[in-house]
């Protein structure tokens, strides 16, 4: 067997339990080797690589435009954000100016994507904890977002909507109306989720005080996203290193103090609210105009050197590190993804918890496995 681990059982009271790679609660092909003493976890060793698709090698074998379809598939739940992040990274390097209307469209599409990612998280997290209803409610609302984006982009999940210099197609009045209707509708739905999920005593019992991240983890692991904000640190790439036109928007960065699963859940619900606020402002201010830059070079040749670019995805900080040698094919393209960071903390966070808490913790950090493995 290619991936068995040599285990010499020295004491007969503990045992190893394999969770995954096929498991309903691992959200993909993640394997956790749990060292258990009865039902208490002594150690959790995440084994990744079951979803490795060689994105970084593919980046070295094709030019910058040909890599665009890969970007959505790295984290398919924030596919629009990832797709636009790549476009924005290249635009920053080559100093391509994106027209105003395209920027606003990108903000709307990106934030809608963020809400749909959080809705899916909500549904699947509750499914792991044993509640099926939020899954159905969440997916129904998510379908509304997907309809809006599908009408413009043609895709439901893996978008290639962004192009260097703007977006592929302009949005029409129907899109803007549908989005406005959705905001109104969804603002009334969030309290439903809060009552159904956050106010549910079973959910609270299973998530309060569970999976508390020790504060040392912040500096050791470079946490970002809801995991970091649940520990009281108001850090968000959209505020710390604003990209696109995020400086023009007013929104709060929600924080909690407890650092447990419940805190992370509260933050994601609040983030959905804040995204609605951003979309409403974008709809109010969107100008008319072109959606594609006038002059985009046909062959993209970034000057030789190294470039970093980060965005805030639904899971945390997503960063591109591009090394260019002056040609139209990158020399190295490293993707730093938030789920990689979050899963690497699992051995420290899960130790000492019960087996059923392992499921609660894994769901609360909201991982997408192809993002870990790339």
């Amino acid at each position: 067997m290619s991936d068995t681990i040599e285990i010499v059982a020295q004491d007969r009271d503990t045992y190893y339990l394999n969770m995954g790679p096929q498991h309903p609660s691992t959200h993909g092909v993640l394997r956790l080797v749990l060292h258990l003493d009865g039902e208490r976890i002594i150690d959790a060793d995440p084994i990744i690589g079951y979803g490795h698709r060689a994105h970084e090698k593919m980046a070295e074998n094709r030019d910058y435009l040909q890599f665009l379809p890969n970007t959505s598939r790295i984290d398919y739940l924030s596919g629009m954000i990832y797709n636009l992040a790549y476009c924005q990274a290249i635009e920053k390097i080559l100093a391509i100016e994106v027209p105003e209307r395209a920027e606003y469209i990108r903000i709307i599409a990106g934030e809608l994507n963020r809400i749909s990612s959080h809705l899916l998280w909500l549904g699947t997290y509750l499914l792991d904890l044993g509640g099926i209803t939020p899954f159905l409610y969440g997916f129904d609302d998510r379908e509304k977002i997907l309809d809006i984006l599908d009408r413009v982009t043609g895709s439901r999940l893996t978008y290639s909507y962004g192009r260097f210099g703007g977006v592929t197609m302009d949005v029409d009045e129907v899109f803007l109306e549908n989005t406005a209707e959705f905001i109104e509708y969804f603002e009334g739905r969030i309290p439903v989720f809060e009552e159904l999920v956050i106010g549910n005593v079973i959910f609270q019992e299973r998530t309060k005080g569970v999976g508390i991240f020790p504060s040392e983890l912040i500096q050791h692991y470079a946490l970002s996203g809801p995991s970091l904000r649940a520990m009281g640190i108001a850090s968000d790439v959209r505020k710390d290193e604003p990209y696109s036109i995020y400086e023009r928007f007013e929104f709060k960065v929600p924080t909690q103090q407890a650092g447990d699963c419940f805190a992370r859940s509260l933050i994601r619900i609040e983030e959905m609210r804040q995204s609605l606020k951003i979309i409403a402002q974008a709809l109010r201010d969107i100008p008319s105009g072109p959606v594609m830059a006038a002059k985009v070079p046909k062959r993209l040749r970034p000057p030789a050197g190294e470039y970093c670019f980060s965005v805030e995805s639904a899971r945390g900080r997503y960063q591109h590190f591009i090394v260019s040698d002056g040609s139209d094919v990158p020399f190295r393209h490293k993707l730093t993804t938030p789920s990689f960071v979050n899963v690497s903390t699992m051995s420290k966070v899960m130790a000492g918890n019960m087996l059923s808490d392992a499921v609660a913790i894994l769901g609360s950090i909201d991982i997408v496995v192809p993002e870990i493995d790339r």
Binding site: I5, E56, K92, A222, I233, D240, G326, V329, K334, S344
Partner: protein
């Protein structure tokens, strides 16, 4: 300011500033491979965190048939086979202050692990070992992370060719 402390540090051989608006980072420093744990400790004490870490395969002998020469390779003479370049990115919370630390690891040389300083470096170093074959001395648990444990070869090297015996079966025409 950490900039001055770095410039005084024995492990740093060269420092320069970068244009944040274009490159996305503020400073880049060249470091000696053996001094990396000490440099990392300096960042840790000053409240920085390790944002990411990666490796770039710049071995000239391993380059493929691409004719173009970039600036870095111009400096390499015929005797210099090039090296792996490790890049570490350190940043601070709040307003970013990104420092890139780069160091060269020649083929056959080992790097020093900084997992003792930053626990999060553990997985990054395992990934570099898995995909490039660079060994890290004093790493707590250096094993493959993405490829199967019994895999032969290091896929992200420029001269990598797939030696998997199942390759023919698993590839379609």
């Amino acid at each position: 300011m950490i900039g001055e402390k770095l410039q005084e540090h024995a492990g740093i051989t060269e420092s320069s500033s970068a244009d944040y608006a274009v490159s996305g980072y503020h400073h880049v420093h060249k470091a000696l491979a053996s001094e990396l744990p000490a440099v990392a400790a300096l960042f840790f004490e000053n409240g920085y965190y390790l944002e990411t870490m990666t490796c770039i395969d710049e071995r000239a002998s391993a380059g493929d048939e691409k004719e173009k020469k970039d600036d870095a390779e111009d400096e390499q003479t015929a005797e210099d086979p090039g090296a792996f370049r490790l890049v570490y990115q350190f940043d601070k919370a709040g307003a970013p202050e990104r420092h890139l630390i780069t160091t060269r690891i020649a083929s056959g040389e080992s790097a020093s692990s900084i997992a003792g300083v930053f626990a999060g470096a553990d997985w990054y170093e395992r990934e570099v070992f898995d995909l490039y074959g660079v060994l890290f001395a004093k790493h707590p648990d250096l094993r493959r992370i993405l490829m199967p444990d019994d895999y032969i070869g290091h896929p992200l090297r420029k001269d990598f060719s797939d030696q998997d015996p199942r390759r023919e079966e698993m590839a379609s025409e």
